[in-house]
């Protein structure tokens, strides 16, 4: 399983990378390689020009300002997993990262690569959906901001044009005392999830939900916000009954079927995992809700 031949480029500047991407025929960005290289080895993907962006310093870094956490696209998943800033400001991301592949793949895999690859069962796109992340897209024409909802367009598809690449991701930061919950079901440790749920809750006095975000992954062709569930929770006290009621919004989903799971099973998991994630989020947000499933 050897890849087809290609030419290799290792730019040091973002502009150089963008120019190469625009000008070279059949060019692809190589970030961590943990998704792209297997496909190249299988020859499912043939690349003529591989642009390795590991050396572009502008694509790295974690910075907090203006109520958001900005993460460079080339940050390795392992670096994010051990980042104290992320743990402080976006603990949902920290929780999710433990489930992303295995240590060896997290050492090399990047957040930008995961988002660009857009596997429906991947954790990081779902986290971006939950946070309403903003994706900074770079090309020879400059940088544009794309809200995640518009960035994710379909099964393994994004709004990236063929000459565009991800430069950075902004995660808006939730209030200090917000609650978060993350549950996925995979067949084995580190596997792609058959389904997963990421929840964020901002809970005010009296246990009233001020803000809610529930994002599901592995269930449909791309990560999806369970907006019906969020609406049901909003401005209501959070408890087990409210969570159960909100999670029935999973019945509205139209999951895909494949050799790993049927649509019906995915829908069932979506409901169960939403309940678990929301219950954890409520507990972390300061309300003592018991797990019922």
């Amino acid at each position: 399983m050897k890849p087809a031949p290609f030419d290799y480029h290792a730019p040091k500047q973002l502009k150089e990378a963008a120019d190469l991407l625009a000008s070279l025929p059949n060019a692809k960005i190589l970030a961590g390689g943990q998704s792209l290289v297997p496909m190249m080895n299988f020859r499912y993907v043939i690349v003529d020009n591989l642009i390795d962006i590991a050396g572009v310093a502008d694509l790295r870094g974690i910075a907090v300002s203006d109520g958001r956490l900005r993460i460079g696209a080339m940050m390795r998943q392992r670096e994010l997993e051990t980042s104290s800033e992320i743990a402080r400001y976006c603990p949902l991301l920290t929780a999710a990262l433990r489930h992303v592949g295995h240590r060896q793949t997290r050492n090399r895999g990047t957040i930008g690569g995961s988002l660009a690859h857009a596997d429906p069962a991947a954790e990081l796109p779902a986290i971006c959906a939950a946070y309403d992340a903003v994706i900074h897209v770079a090309s020879a024409r400059g940088i544009r901001q794309v809200p995640f909802k518009e960035f994710s367009t379909g099964y393994m598809a994004t709004a990236l044009q063929s000459d565009e690449m991800i430069a950075a991701i902004d995660l808006p930061i939730w209030r200090d005392d917000h609650g978060f919950g993350f549950h996925e079901f995979a067949r084995r440790q580190g596997d792609f999830a058959l389904a997963g749920a990421a929840a964020l809750l901002d809970i005010g006095s009296g246990g009233i939900v001020r803000r809610a975000a529930v994002a599901l992954f592995g269930v449909t062709a791309m990560p999806v916000r369970l907006e019906a569930a969020e609406r049901r929770l909003l401005d209501q006290p959070i408890d087990a009954a409210a969570i159960r009621s909100a999670a029935t919004a999973a019945w509205l989903l139209d999951p895909h079927s494949d050799i790993h799971a049927s649509a019906e099973y995915r829908r069932h998991l979506a409901q169960v995992l939403s309940m678990r994630a929301l219950t954890d989020a409520a507990q972390r947000g300061g309300v003592d809700v018991a797990h019922v499933v």
């Binding site: 399983m1 299988f42 067949r187 084995r188 792609f192 069932h268 169960v272 499933v293």
Partner: protein, 783 residues
């Protein structure tokens, strides 16, 4: 004699080199001028091969040849590969040709071999081949393939039946007619692949000076391979040397002889250069043999105490597109069902059905896991229906130790009557249950339930015929340096063959283990051999090592007595020295005895002395050696997701006398891991057109370190009375009852929902579907 090495926990001799990355697997062997090969393979399950246009491929720089069937030597061009295990019941004894020339019958069947400077270039060339096929309908499911008028897996065969056979004894009609209870079950199982971490590999080289062909192959059976290759190349067997170097796991699929093992040597001969082929994982998923689906329809008749009166049924076995090893696997399954129980009447009809999938040959367990699953599911059913404890039902039906040797009433695959030589099944079960805390489990289960956790326990028993013949020879030779050279046709894919045989030889000969120099798996080192499969090497090679060692011991003593001028009874052998026990204890080292044994040029040897200090023994077992055991699995089920975790696993096993407990424990633990895979994870899936759907490790799920607990293992040693070492085989017992024990435990965890399962692998989705149908979610998920 008190054993020094036998039974000792000797650390493995194989380890230091492997740990330093100095193993020598086929891909580590490099020869000057070596070229690299890649196979072009059918992407269709069933098609007529119309044409292969290699022009574009040959134009690529670095490409040396594209060889199709017509480019192979005449002896292998159109001749199907030999089938090693003929059986009168086989009506369609189909095997493949080395390269397809007319009809392709499974996805992955090789149609051409490309040779280039590097594997990278060879793959470029293979992608540039223009291969034309006419598609044919494919037989994708054995349940359909067995019907009249079904799509044929082979165009020219009248049906898809490769074999039908009946195994029966006693009067099942009477047994069922007189039974208090009759229970029937439909049972489905799918086993999957061996999936060694090292894929297949072949390196072939022809020496024009000696006209010798040397082949390195990641095989379990180099001697068998050499025989097959000699026939296919039309060469004298003595001109071929086949070597199995370090092999990264076997588990069954590497025991058979593959088309690639013939094609690569043929191409090396044609090009006059060494050619290496390393299978990639995708090829392995397509072409390495696997065990396929089996569908069982069985019924058990019992009296009101749960004692078995009879068992009957039908087995439908999907054998894939060819039968390279005949029907031994479904046969083994069919005779293994009775297990450790007294079954007065038995009747099983087996149909072996061809489909357009990769052929079926044994994978660890070789049909026995399926048989044990059937028997143990039936026992659990009897227990449940009669309201009896599952262990108690089994106790009531065990063959008792005083009934040994026990004649089951069937012929085993070794060609001999199925007679269990030894074993104490009640003791094994009791030991396992005791170690597993079976009696106190109900309390544990209740306490867990109060916390909302669903845990369960299950048990399964097995009897396994191991140590199959015909033989495995060992040569022991004392060298002038004092080292002891040992050669055997036995091979090593991780089971520690070098270590165990060294222990036996050192024990017999009286040398240090570190003084032994061993050659395994090399047809150049010993004339006859068979190889590793069916857990046979400890019995066959072990006993040969014992006999050869004994013979060399006798000679050492005789020579030493003569040299030291004492009587033979006054000689001790220890650590490579022959020591007189009298006087001032003179000694003579083995090396010097080896020189003496050569005599002097022109001088006759003393009367009674044989030439040299060596002996080759080919022990031939009279029949299989029967192991047994009991597994107890404890699981936790997440009833909301269907996720299953194996929390605790206990094994009591009897594999006869244990030469090295470390190695046996390793085999049991490794076998259990494979069994967990079969129970919960591993499933080679195909669509209805026989297209494989799981063709990578992302889709085919292997157990990880987080899936397999460390087993508690209790050894029970009932020595085998039929061989001088008293050993039996230990390689497969860990896998055989594991799916049965685990599925039983899952049912037990979910007992309040009254759901039942008769399939493996059992997926979380199936568990959830069963729970939903049983109403488990009504209160929990509805608002």
């Amino acid at each position: 004699m008190g054993a020094k090495h036998l039974g000792a926990r000797v650390k493995r001799l194989e380890d230091p080199a492997l740990l330093c990355g100095r193993g020598r697997f086929v891909d580590d062997v490099k020869l000057p001028g070596m070229l690299h090969a890649c196979f072009a393979r059918s992407p269709h399950a069933h098609a007529k091969l119309v044409s292969i246009d290699a022009e574009a491929a040959l134009d690529l720089p670095g490409v040396h040849a594209v060889v199709t069937a017509s480019g192979l030597p005449g002896t292998m061009r159109r001749t199907p590969m030999p089938m090693l295990l003929p059986n009168p019941s086989i009506t369609a004894a189909r095997t493949q040709t080395v390269l397809a020339h007319d009809e392709v019958c499974y996805v992955g069947q090789p149609v051409a071999v490309v040779v280039a400077d590097t594997r990278y270039i060879a793959e470029d060339a293979a992608a540039a081949l223009n291969v034309q096929y006419d598609l044919l309908n494919a037989a994708g499911d054995c349940r359909d393939a067995i019907k009249d008028g079904a799509t044929r897996a082979h165009r020219d065969l009248p049906s898809n039946i490769a074999s039908t056979f009946r195994l029966a004894y006693g009067d099942t009609d009477a047994a069922f007619a007189g039974a208090t209870y009759i229970f029937d079950e439909e049972i489905w199982q799918h086993r999957g692949g061996g999936m060694a971490i090292e894929t297949r590999a072949v390196l072939a080289s022809h020496d024009p000076v000696t006209d010798g062909v040397t082949v390195w192959s990641a095989t379990q059976t180099p001697h068998l391979g050499r025989r097959m290759l000699a026939d296919l190349l039309g060469r004298e067997i003595e001109t071929i040397r086949m070597i199995a170097p370090d092999v990264g796991g076997g588990f069954g699929p590497k025991a058979i002889f593959y088309p690639e093992e013939a094609a690569i040597p043929a191409v090396a001969l044609k090009l006059g250069r060494p050619v290496k082929w390393i299978e990639d994982r995708r090829e392995h998923f397509l072409c390495a043999t696997q065990e396929r689906d089996q569908y069982w329809s069985v019924a058990i008749a019992v009296d009101r105490d749960g004692k078995i009166l009879g068992l009957r049924g039908r087995l439908l076995h999907d054998t894939g597109a060819f039968v390279p090893w005949g029907v031994i696997m479904p046969y083994i399954a069919a005779v293994t069902v009775p297990g450790p129980y007294v079954i007065p009447a038995y009747h099983l009809d087996t149909s072996v059905v061809l489909t357009n999938k990769v052929p079926t040959t044994p994978v660890r367990g070789a049909g026995r896991p399926q048989a044990v699953f059937v028997m143990e599911r039936l026992m659990d059913r009897v227990a449940r229906e009669l309201g009896l404890d599952r262990a108690e039902v089994r106790r009531r039906n065990f063959i008792q130790p005083e009934q040994m040797p026990y004649q089951v009433g069937l012929i085993f695959r070794d060609g001999k009557p199925l007679i269990y030589d030894s074993g104490d099944y009640p003791k094994g079960q009791a030991a396992a249950l005791d170690a597993a805390g079976y009696d106190s489990f109900r309390d544990k289960q209740r306490a867990a339930l109060e916390q909302g956790r669903f845990i369960g326990i299950g048990l399964a028993n097995y009897v396994e015929g191991t140590g199959l013949g015909p033989f495995e020879g060992v040569t022991v030779r004392v060298l002038p340096s004092g080292k002891v050279a040992v050669a055997s046709g036995a091979t090593n894919q991780g089971q520690g063959t070098r270590t165990t045989l060294s222990q036996i030889v050192a024990e017999q000969v009286g040398c240090r283990i570190s003084d032994i120099v061993m050659t395994l798996g090399d047809t150049g080192a010993i004339a006859q051999g068979v190889g590793a499969f069916a857990s046979r090497q400890a019995v066959n090679a072990g006993c040969s090592a014992l006999l050869a060692g004994e013979a060399v011991r006798t000679r050492l003593i005789a020579l030493a007595a003569h040299a030291l001028g004492v009587s033979e009874s006054d000689i001790e052998l220890e650590d490579g020295q022959a020591i007189a026990t009298t006087g001032n204890r003179p000694s003579i080292p083995f090396g010097e005895l080896a020189r003496l044994a050569q005599g002097m040029p022109g001088v006759s040897l003393p009367a009674g002395q044989a030439a040299g200090l060596e002996h080759t023994a080919y022990y031939t077992p009279p029949q299989a050696a029967y192991c047994s055991g009991t597994h107890v699995a404890e699981v936790e089920v997440d009833i909301m997701t269907g996720g299953v975790k194996v929390q605790k696993y206990t094994v009591a096993h009897d594999s006869g006398r244990v030469i090295n407990p470390i190695i046996v424990e390793g085999q049991v633990q490794g076998g259990v891991a494979h069994g967990i895979g079969n129970a919960l994870l591993e499933w080679m899936q195909y669509d209805k057109n026989a297209q494989p759907l799981t063709t990578s490790f992302a889709d085919y799920l292997m157990p990880m370190a987080t899936d397999v607990p460390t087993c508690a293992i209790a050894h029970i040693e009932t020595p085998n009375p039929l061989n001088p070492l008293g050993v039996k085989g230990a390689g497969e017992g860990g896998t055989i009852p594991a799916p049965a024990a685990i599925i039983a435990a899952i049912e037990d965890a979910l007992s309040r929902f009254d759901v039942h399962f008769a399939e493996t692998p059992l997926t979380p989705e199936r568990i959830v579907a069963a729970l939903r149908a049983a109403g488990a979610y009504e209160k929990l998920l509805v608002a």
